[in-house]
């Protein structure tokens, strides 16, 4: 953190500028992967890994600048949450990639990271201002937010792995033998990873909701009903998928499709949830202050 601040003083750059550079690194990593696939050359995994690492650091730098400015964890609007999910996604890639040795995961991670990070930069409306001290300095709610965002990162990886599964399965079913199909991991490996990660994500989101509930019980007026409902729906959706999977009632292809749809719904719900939260926070600001005091 200290090093980052020194770096910032030496090379002054805005938070959005640093995040933009990070998104560019993600995009370049994706394009490098795409080019090597098109040219049928061996994937330059190390280069993609380095580019993702550079993007990850720049994004981290940008989020730190934003955090230093607002003196809190920057999770106050859709832009910040999307950036945090992207950052978690890339961090998880660095953990999962070497552990499971999933070929092409770096390429797919770079694509989704560029899309999410770059996409949220393109729409300035997503980076709407919000009142300071949104979390009121409560450690439970900060833990809740961090865990919830991290679980969304896990679900992002699950969606990526599921997409890779569907591509490989399509290749096998339609007797495709060239290009990306030859390089993608096996359907069984992808299916197993998706199942394990989905359960991990559900556990993390459940913990996030438990910590959130501790805060909610003490401060019910600070949690908008719409946010509570949507969050519980997303959790219930993932919990159902995990349960059905364990029961072997929702497997392979249908499990992959469900994981992708759920992640898209979870992402799509961010903006309305944040809008509802910000308008409620503005409305109850005075009481929030008095509670904090």
């Amino acid at each position: 953190m200290h090093i980052l601040l020194i770096a910032w003083e030496a090379f002054p750059i805005s938070d959005r500028g640093a995040i933009g550079i990070g998104a560019s690194f993600y995009l370049v990593a994706f394009l490098v992967g795409m080019l090597t696939l098109r040219e049928k050359k061996p994937a330059i995994n190390s280069l993609i890994f380095v580019l993702l690492g550079a993007g990850f650091l720049m994004q981290f730098f940008g989020l730190n600048i934003r955090g230093a400015q607002i003196k809190a964890c920057p999770l106050g609007n859709t832009f910040e949450i999307t950036q945090f999910i992207t950052w978690s996604l890339v961090m998880l890639f660095f953990i999962i990639g070497p552990v499971f040795r999933v070929r092409l995961l770096g390429f797919f991670t770079a694509g989704l990271a560029a899309l999410l990070s770059g996409g949220s930069l393109i729409f300035p409306g997503l980076d709407s201002p919000y009142p300071p001290g949104l979390f009121g300095g409560n450690p439970w709610i900060e833990l809740h937010a961090a865990l919830a965002i991290f679980s969304y990162g896990v679900f992002a990886i699950v969606a990526l792995v599921s997409a890779m599964f569907l591509i490989q399965q399509h290749g096998l079913k339609t007797k495709q033998f060239k290009g990306v199909y030859q390089i993608l991991p096996s359907v069984q490996q992808l299916d197993t990873i998706a199942q394990r990660l989905n359960i991990t994500g559900v556990v993390m989101l459940s913990l996030a909701l438990i910590f959130g509930a501790v805060f909610w019980v003490g401060n019910p007026e600070l949690v908008p009903f719409f946010k509570l409902t949507v969050t519980c729906l997303v959790w219930a959706g993932y919990l159902t998928v995990a349960f059905l999977r364990i029961q072997k009632k929702l497997v392979t292809r249908r499990h992959a499709i469900a994981a992708i749809i759920l992640f898209l719904l979870a992402l799509a719900s961010l903006w309305p949830v944040q809008s509802a939260r910000n308008s409620d926070a503005t409305a109850i600001r005075p009481s929030s202050h008095s509670l904090a005091q």
């Binding site: 049928k40 490989q168 290749g171 096998l172 079913k173 007797k175 033998f177 060239k178 199909y181 030859q182 993608l184 991991p185 096996s186 359907v187 069984q188 490996q189 299916d191 072997k248 497997v251 392979t252 292809r253 249908r254």
Partner: protein, 349 residues
Amino acid sequence: MSEALQSLFVLGSTHHEAPIELREQFALNDQDVVNFQKTLLQLPSIKECLIVNTCNRLEVYGLADSPEIEDLIRAQLCDQNGIDRSLFDTHSFWRTNLDVLQHALEVSSGLDSQMVGETEILRQMKGAYALAKENKCTGTVLNRLFEKSFQASKSARTQTGITRGQVSIGNVAVDLASRIFGKIKRSRVLLLGSGEVGEKTAQALKSRGVDDITVSSRTFENAHALAHELGGAALEFDNFQAQLPHFDIVISSTAAPGSILNVEAVRAIMNQRPERPLFLIDLALPRDVDPAVDQVENVYLYNLDDLSKIANENLEQRRQQIEEARKILKSHAWTLWLQLRRRTLLGDS
């Protein structure tokens, strides 16, 4: 010096010149090879010689004092091994000098093989070289030629795509199994019928580490014999459907007149193992597995045509790389040729 180099030659007959029926007549056994090499060396004009003898080629490499040696070598080869001279003359080739170098390099790289890019030929060339060297039939020139050809072969294989993609049914099936299961070592394989292609496919899987192979055939003795050969177990044919849920890969090559596996049976199997994929390889004609089985979730059905199509596409891809590989080998051949001339190796040997 350049005069001396004109005596490097290769006389041969390969799948390009002769159909299999003739290659069978031209083929030598190991002892014939050793004897013929010794006979050649006894000829006063022959300084070095080496014979490459495989199912697809018979090639005699040599170094002679004079370029006028062709007729003598042909006569000696045919007389000693009972080969019809006129047949051999019309189905063989004779090359000299730089062409010999280029040819040897192309053969060892698999460019001249029926299955372009196959690596077995390199092993055979190394074997032929080791045998000739052991019998003191080679000298400085052929030693250098063969050692360089092995190096050049590596360059051509790594710098081009001539070895990319599998070109045999068995290896294509192994690649597909890897795309379905990842590590196939733990996969359980059931071989139905004792057809040759099925057996080869099972052997390809075994060569990649699969050690759980069960064989089931209408004639239990055949199943037992093949299971013994593959290091697996035999299963009564009447019982195979009940045991199917325990297998991951099923290779079917029976002589049954119709389907032995239909959609209902496969659905019932998958209900017992919804998470684990099932790879069905139908190598029988008429087909053993109802094509509609492919629609069942988590089941991957490939028949003989599917596998052949993939193998042929890969072979075509390899063929497209031939010219690129040939360019690399030409540069190696030319460098070797210059080295041989510069060091006056032929004159010294």
